[in-house]
């Protein structure tokens, strides 16, 4: 018999004798089997986990590559739009220069603490701001007041270091507004403590739920483009106009600071018709 066959026979005899021994001690054999089985199972689980991780990584990479391509496309679109806007701005500046038109100045804001808020009252919904030390002697009446979220209202009186703000939700407040998507203009008035009404938008005008409403800059107080709120419902309120309900952008229940705009309003003499025009 060749040495190779004897070696195979030797291996078989050893295995058979080991089996004979473990059969006589089944409990211990089970323990030994577990001792061997545990690491094997751990190894198999680790291999499976690694394969799964690699597969998930490849899927994520493919997704990222796809997203990257999409983002590159969007970036190109944005770059093109930006280039177009820069061109338009240059052209606008050129035309403005020739027409001697002065564009509105950049906003100059004064930060003030909100020390009193009454946005639930039926009579008058106001807030009181405490002015900074260097700004207490100025007259802040008729100045717009905003927060980081949008329009809060306008100052109706100031003095002794404080300013009273008529909130945009007050029944006496009216703001020249427009639908941002269509640029259609109307008037926003306070309805109840948590809602506004956009008025005087004819029934044939396109207006949808979810449209943003911003200031139109046509009321002599507020600059153009400040967010007022979002349209939550559009109904046919009467024969001619929509009944549009708007939720304010500013959360009046969490006020802490506000910005007063250092912006001169249109002189009252023009607003009241004191210059004789129209009389």
């Amino acid at each position: 018999m060749s040495e190779r066959r004897v070696a195979i026979l030797f291996g078989g005899v050893v295995v058979a004798l080991l089996a004979l021994l473990t059969v006589q001690e089944p409990q211990r054999a089970g323990d030994l089997a577990l001792w061997v089985e545990g690491p094997v199972k751990q190894f198999v689980a680790a291999v499976g986990e690694t394969v799964d991780r690699v597969r998930r990584g490849r899927a994520a990479r493919a997704e990222l590559e796809r997203e990257n391509v999409e983002l590159r496309g969007r970036l190109r679109e944005i770059e093109a739009a930006y280039a177009a806007s820069v061109g338009a701005r240059l052209e606008s500046d050129l035309v403005s220069k020739q027409l001697r038109y002065e564009p509105p100045e950049d906003a100059d804001l004064l930060l003030a603490d909100v020390v009193y808020v009454d946005h639930h009252s039926l009579n008058r919904r106001t807030a009181i701001l405490r002015l900074p030390a260097g700004a207490r002697r100025e007259d802040w009446s008729r100045r717009p007041v905003t927060t980081a979220e949008g329009l809060l209202g306008r100052v109706v009186s100031s003095g002794a270091g404080y300013a009273r703000v008529l909130l945009v939700t007050d029944r006496d407040s009216s703001v020249g507004a427009m639908v941002e998507r269509t640029r259609r203009q109307g008037i926003v008035r306070g309805v109840d403590p948590a809602a506004l009404s956009l008025m005087f938008l004819p029934l044939q005008v396109d207006v949808q739920r979810g449209d943003r409403v911003i200031t139109a800059g046509i009321d002599g107080f507020f600059p153009r483009g400040i967010p007022i709120g979002t349209i939550t419902s559009v109904e046919s309120g009467g024969d001619l106009f929509h009944a549009i309900r708007v939720v304010p952008s500013v959360d009046l229940g969490s006020l802490s600071h506000a910005y007063i705009w250092r912006r001169d309003p249109v002189p009252e003499v023009y607003m009241d018709g004191g210059d004789g025009v129209g009389r």
């Binding site: 018999m1 040495e3 004897v6 070696a7 026979l9 030797f10 005899v13 050893v14 004798l17 080991l18 004979l20 021994l21 473990t22 006589q24 001690e25 211990r28 054999a29 323990d31 030994l32």
Partner: protein, 172 residues
Amino acid sequence: MASAGRFAGALAAVALVEVLLGEVLPAAANVVELFVLLVILTSLRGNSLHGLTGGLAAGLVQDTLTASLFGLHSLACCVVGYAVARASQRILTNQRMVAGLLIAVGVMVHQVLVIGLLTVLDIADVDPDVLVVLSRALLTSAAGLAYLWLAGRLREWAVRRRTLAARRVRSK
């Protein structure tokens, strides 16, 4: 066939001696590993198949005579017989020192295997004593060397006697 018969006879003799020693002097029966010695001496002169079958047969007989788990000594003797046979094919085992060294190593391997299997299978509380293992290996090796010396002397005596007989026949 003749070698198998001689091995069977030697195995029977070793079994008888082990049984007698176990009855009369139990302490002495554990001093020298006669079964392992038989397996190693058989493997020194035979091939690996002889070592394997000799070890298996001797181990089975030892398992039958002892009260331990059946197959324990068979496995140990089988491994020792095969390993010694493979080793004897690669080194010269005619020198008595080499043979003695192989016997000592074989006995130690046998002891390690038996103690290891007993521990792994949790059959008995084994407290292995290195000195006991070493002394058993040395004594078994000494017994093996004594046997080899005696066998050599007997072989020489037989050869001399045969030579003398042949001269007498020639002178007549």
